[in-house]
């Protein structure tokens, strides 16, 4: 196995490197606030439903809960875990397959284990 080549970035490149990293980090923080917002919203929705607030019926709350959960998970995977970046083809493929089967199993358990 060949050793890693040491490559020294020029000051300009290094500068760019750091700036890019900072930008990415800003994006991450943004995504984090989005996640916190959705969490807050989810809990609020449920509390509202619990208190019987007008308009917060099951048919609204449940889909929204799942939508928010799915989006949050997407954000975690794609931003925090970098699945959107290059070189993540294999992780994507396996996580997707996992997600498909992982969806199928609970689905059958709530439909054909009914008694």
């Amino acid at each position: 196995m060949a050793e890693v080549q040491m490559y020294k970035r020029t000051p300009v490149e290094q500068d760019l490197h750091i700036r890019r990293a900072k930008e990415t980090m800003r994006g991450q923080v943004l995504m984090f606030s989005l996640m916190i917002f959705m969490t807050l919203a989810s809990f609020t929705f449920v509390v509202a439903y619990q208190q019987g607030v007008e308009g917060f019926s099951q048919y609204l709350v449940i889909p929204v809960l799942f939508l928010f959960a799915a989006v949050q998970v997407g954000l975690q995977l794609y931003y925090f875990m970098h699945m959107k970046d290059k070189g993540h083809g294999v992780p994507q493929m396996f996580m997707f397959t996992g997600a498909v089967f992982g969806f199928l199993i609970p689905l059958t358990f709530v439909t054909i284990v009914w008694w």
Binding site: M1, R9, Q14, I18, M81, H88, F94, P106, T108
Partner: protein, 208 residues
């Protein structure tokens, strides 16, 4: 691989976590492992969904009365925040800033510890109320699902603690960069699972 090779922020590679073949292997292997974990948790969730509120005749616990949202909310915030702090740690790792990386990981661990303590508190509270593991099918599936997640958190804590102490004197190198990185993947994955737990178990449970 040579552990003594000294890097500087300028020579530190763009993707230290997959700079060598070993690192690439660990990186891909860990992702595959997470793919498998997805199914593991899917099965646990499925079982929980099938067994929730099921107990022996005269069973008196139900999701609606059992769960306490404020506690869960605090736990959620702790874990979500710890996800962000570990992103910070990785940010500093990419910049070859070892001290700050360690610091942020330390914070991550503390947040995780907070989460775990609250979970233990929650569990002991349930047990005191009589909702023990062997109380019903519902309780078994609840404790197994949430407990498996908690167990993952505990493993993560042990893992990160070992990493922090083991490498404290040695600094970053290409050998342990992957370990740090896979830890952060793991930690995010735990968060992913928790998102489903608070949605499917607690929030849906309160709705009924």
């Amino acid at each position: 691989m040579d552990l003594n090779k000294k890097f500087t922020p300028e020579t530190w590679p763009e993707h230290p976590e997959r700079a060598t073949l070993e690192a690439k292997n660990k990186f891909v292997g860990f992702w595959l492992f997470l793919g498998g974990e997805t199914i593991l948790f899917a099965t646990l969730f499925a079982t929980y969904m099938a067994l929730k509120n099921k107990g022996p005749s005269g069973f008196e616990f139900s999701t609606q009365e059992l769960y306490e949202l404020p506690l869960v909310f605090v736990m959620t915030l702790l874990l979500l925040t710890s996800s962000l702090t570990s992103v910070y740690a990785m940010y500093h790792m990419k910049n070859f800033n070892f001290k700050k990386m360690q610091l942020w990981l330390g914070i991550t661990a503390l947040l995780g510890l907070g989460f775990l303590s609250l979970e233990l508190y929650e569990f002991s509270h349930y047990v005191k109320e009589g909702f023990t593991f062997s109380n019903s099918a519902f309780s078994s599936s609840f404790f197994t699902l949430v407990g498996t997640h908690g167990f993952h958190v505990a493993i993560g804590l042990v893992w990160v603690t070992l990493l922090l102490f083991r490498n404290a004197k040695r600094g970053l190198n290409l050998y342990n960069a992957t370990k740090y990185y896979t830890f952060s993947l793991y930690w995010h994955f735990i968060d992913v699972v928790w998102v489903f737990i608070f949605t499917v178990v607690y929030l849906m449970g309160v709705i009924g």
